[in-house]
């Protein structure tokens, strides 16, 4: 176990340096750090993502003390059940049990020691490779996962005890073609709006799409083309659900989209290009670094 002490600032910098563009990491820090005491960091060697780990830290003020480490393949995204001591990790791999797909795991969290215990892992659907983001739906009834490699969304029912059930719905996307530029679907981020709508950014398709869940199936509600010519990446939503923020996938320019009924209706440029965003879908996830403060 690493006994180094991490400061929030030092970790934030490391995360940004490694992950390239990380709007989600920053907003996670600012909204949850103050009041909570545990932090989880997922990381993996870029050349051997399957040998990744999730590290637990105790956070006291600015001090981070390493508590425990658990092996976890390419933990590209971490999220916590809203009411139960269950952590979910999205494994950004291209093969699981020898088949072309990623996986998600549920872990029990010991709030006293910070130790994680693997509860179980659910493979994703075929072709759902390099999943890199997920959200829990309203009431934590489902886990909604975006896989950049295969351009696929998966929905997994979650039991009242927080267990993940096998994939119940699959949505296979396609890319876009314009002016001799052809791109693949790369849904790299998702969000839950306060009204229960699921939102996803897909830079290859150049869309923001809102989904509803009907009888365990994923139904597209609205699809809006944003950031024409480059597409949106790294979606983040304001707490009141009125605005979505995205990076332009190639320019790194930040844009704000006003949301009405889950549909992006008006887009405004907020900031000039800030970061280099990786173009290859794999590059989005190859560092598999993630951070969660609870």
């Amino acid at each position: 176990m690493d006994s180094r002490r991490w400061t929030r600032r030092a970790f934030g910098q490391a995360a940004l340096a490694l992950a390239g563009s990380s709007l989600a990491v920053q907003s996670g820090l600012s909204t949850t750090a103050a009041s909570k005491r545990l932090a989880f960091v997922g990381s993996a060697p870029p050349d051997q993502p399957e040998r990744g780990s999730i590290h637990s830290f105790r956070v006291v003020g600015d001090r981070w003390t390493a508590l425990a480490t658990l092996p976890a393949p390419a933990p590209a995204h971490l999220l916590m059940h809203p009411t139960l001591p269950v952590l979910y990790a999205v494994h950004a791999v291209d093969t699981w049990d020898h088949l072309p797909r990623g996986a998600v795991s549920a872990y029990s969290v010991d709030r006293q020691t910070g130790r994680l215990g693997l509860l179980h892992t659910q493979p994703l659907s075929l072709s759902a490779t390099y999943p890199c983001h997920a959200v829990l739906t309203a009431g934590a009834s489902h886990l909604f996962v975006a896989a950049v490699g295969g351009g696929i969304f998966n929905l997994l029912p979650v039991t009242t005890g927080g267990a993940l059930l096998p994939v119940s719905a699959i949505r296979k996307e396609f890319g876009s073609e314009e002016n001799s530029t052809a791109k693949l679907s790369t849904p790299d981020s998702t969000a839950l709006l306060p009204d229960g709508t699921l939102l996803a950014a897909d830079s290859g398709q150049e869309t923001l799409t809102s989904f509803a869940i009907e009888q365990d199936a994923l139904v597209v509600r609205h699809r809006t083309r944003v950031h024409p010519g480059e597409g949106p990446a790294r979606l983040s939503v304001s707490p009141d659900g009125r605005f979505a923020y995205t990076f332009g996938a190639t320019s790194g320019a930040v844009q704000r989209h006003r949301l009405v009924d889950g549909r992006a209706v008006q887009t405004a440029a907020l900031a000039p290009p800030m970061v280099d965003v990786p173009r290859e879908p794999k590059a989005h996830v190859q560092h598999a670094i993630s951070l969660l403060l609870v």
Partner: protein
């Protein structure tokens, strides 16, 4: 017109399944609907509808896939092209075969149209769609080549980056890379095939003569087993390489030991010119007289996929130079029996594995086979057979390894491991036995890195993609087992990226780009 069959339709119970009763594994793996298409336009519309709805399409022609590639598609769409079964003369010359045609109908149709033949498989109900795109071989392969070798063009529906379905007519000049990939690269990797075209085809034989020998398990010993199998292998490693023997197709069924069970060796002679000259197959069968034989009169003429297990046996001893031959006109012999299971919706559970062999068996290999074939599976009645088909001849034209997606061009035998049962409770025990047997057999003549598989080397030339075995995916090198080590798989990956960039067509052993 498309007929859509959904879960609330009473036809669904049968139509969502495949010939192998193991698949789909359960309800959760099953498709949401089946689109029964009649025309290429129907297929295009059904495919477009699936892609736009974000649903995964899978494809079925004859439904004879050994694994669950087409019917394991949770909530997806199964596009059934079995009604695209026209076998006709092509307007521009040559012949065309609809992807949904069953092989039996294909033989009959081509014979009626021009007395010609495609050297394809022996089972009547196998579909052209999966069979021809995965290579396709049969009794006439030594004489006429692999089916995909003869292919001139293909109509295929692919899906562009933006999700639009596109009909392509591909051949040596147009989309030549895709055309090569479709000549044996395996079904449903790149799109949905609607028609196969053949500019020229060889003439069908005049008649077929078949004879055989059998060796009872009751009196079998390890030495005798080794002698029989190595006699067979030696012939195809030596004399069987000479062109005058290529009309000979032979099959050796190394069955699991059972009471009254037998090991059969059959010889099928294709009489190409009507001369009824049986010297070659007689010479072949004579080789086994030293092995204490009985004569087998074999009813059906089939490749290993449906190895004869019984037949009627004579009690009189065999006499050198004299064997009982069963003679039939070629077409009758080929389409009689309607084998393979009606429409491909079967009740038998099956598991299959394969191996291309470049040399005769080694003694160590045969000892291991013997040990497994005489070993009991606790509480299970072993129903497995290692079928050893003759191979080589015109299949071994080296330049075709680079023009097609069939890299195996040095083999003399093609083995198919088959296991059949009906009780789902036996799945685990049978699959384990079968896997352990195969792993053990291919642990002898293989370099450390590839132990457990017939990896390309001195003895073996990998596996056959039309006999897919999902167990092989546990090896990182599984694509090389099927596609060789000479760059074919990277080529197929580049074709996949270009023509199916969204990976719309995927399954457990699809080309992974």
């Amino acid at each position: 017109m498309i007929a859509t069959v959904t879960r609330d339709d009473e036809r669904y119970a049968q139509l969502h399944r495949t010939r192998n009763a193991r698949f789909p594994k359960d309800d959760a793996d099953s498709v949401a609907r089946i689109e029964l298409c009649e025309t290429a336009e129907d297929v295009q519309a059904a495919l477009q509808r699936a892609v736009h709805a974000g649903l995964r399409p899978t494809v079925r022609s004859g439904g004879h896939c050994y694994e669950d590639f087409a019917v394991n598609n949770p909530g997806g769409v199964l596009i059934d092209v079995s009604k695209l079964n026209t076998v006709a003369a092509s307007p521009g010359g040559g012949w065309q075969v609809g992807a949904g045609a069953m092989l039996g109908d294909m033989y009959k149709g081509l014979y009626e149209l021009g007395g010609v033949n495609i050297p394809a498989g022996s089972c009547y109900t196998v579909g052209a769609g999966g069979h021809l795109s995965g290579g396709g071989y049969g009794l006439l392969t030594r004489q006429q080549g692999v089916s995909a070798d003869l292919l001139s063009a293909v109509d295929i529906l692919t899906v562009r980056h933006n999700g639009t379905v596109q009909l392509r007519h591909v051949n040596r000049h147009t989309d030549a890379d895709l055309f090569r990939a479709l000549r044996g690269g395996g079904g449903a990797n790149f799109g949905v095939i609607t028609v196969f075209y053949f500019d020229t085809l060889p003439a069908a034989p005049k008649q077929l003569m078949s004879g055989g020998l059998s060796f009872p398990w009751d009196t079998m010993t390890e030495d005798k087993f080794i002698e029989i199998a190595s006699t067979y292998g030696h012939y195809f490693a030596t004399r069987g390489c000479e062109p005058d023997t290529w009309p000979l197709f032979a099959l050796m069924g190394l069955s699991h030991k059972t009471e009254r069970g037998r090991i059969n060796v059959s010889a099928t002679w294709h009489d190409m010119d009507g001369s009824a000259d049986l010297r070659v197959p007689t010479e072949f069968l004579d080789l086994f007289l030293k092995c204490d034989t009985q004569v087998a009169e074999l009813k059906d003429l089939q490749t290993s996929a449906h190895a004869p297990s019984g037949g009627r046996f004579q009690t009189t001893p065999c006499v050198e130079g004299k064997h009982r031959w069963n003679t039939k006109p070629w077409l009758q012999a080929t389409v009689d029996g309607n084998s393979g299971g009606i429409k491909g919706y079967g009740s038998a559970r099956g598991k299959y594995k394969s191996c291309y062999m470049k040399q005769n068996f080694t003694t160590a290999e045969l000892k291991t086979m013997y040990a497994w074939l005489t070993r009991d599976i606790p509480n299970v009645n072993a129903g497995c057979v290692i079928s050893v088909d003759s191979y080589g001849g015109r299949a071994n034209q080296p330049h075709l390894a680079h023009e097609t997606a069939v890299p195996q061009r040095n083999s003399i035998l093609k083995l198919q491991y088959q296991m059949y049962w009906t009780n789902p409770d036996e799945d685990a025990a049978r699959l384990k036995y079968f896997d352990d047997m195969y792993t053990d057999i291919y642990s002898a003549n293989v370099a450390d890195a590839h132990v457990g598989t017939p990896f390309h080397g001195t003895n073996y030339e990998g596996c056959y993609i039309n006999y897919p075995d999902a167990d092989m995916t546990r090896y990182k090198f599984w694509p090389e087992l099927y596609y060789g080590t000479e760059g074919l798989y990277p080529f197929l990956q580049s074709v996949k990226k270009k023509y199916d960039p969204n990976n719309i067509f995927h399954y457990s052993m699809a080309v992974r780009a």
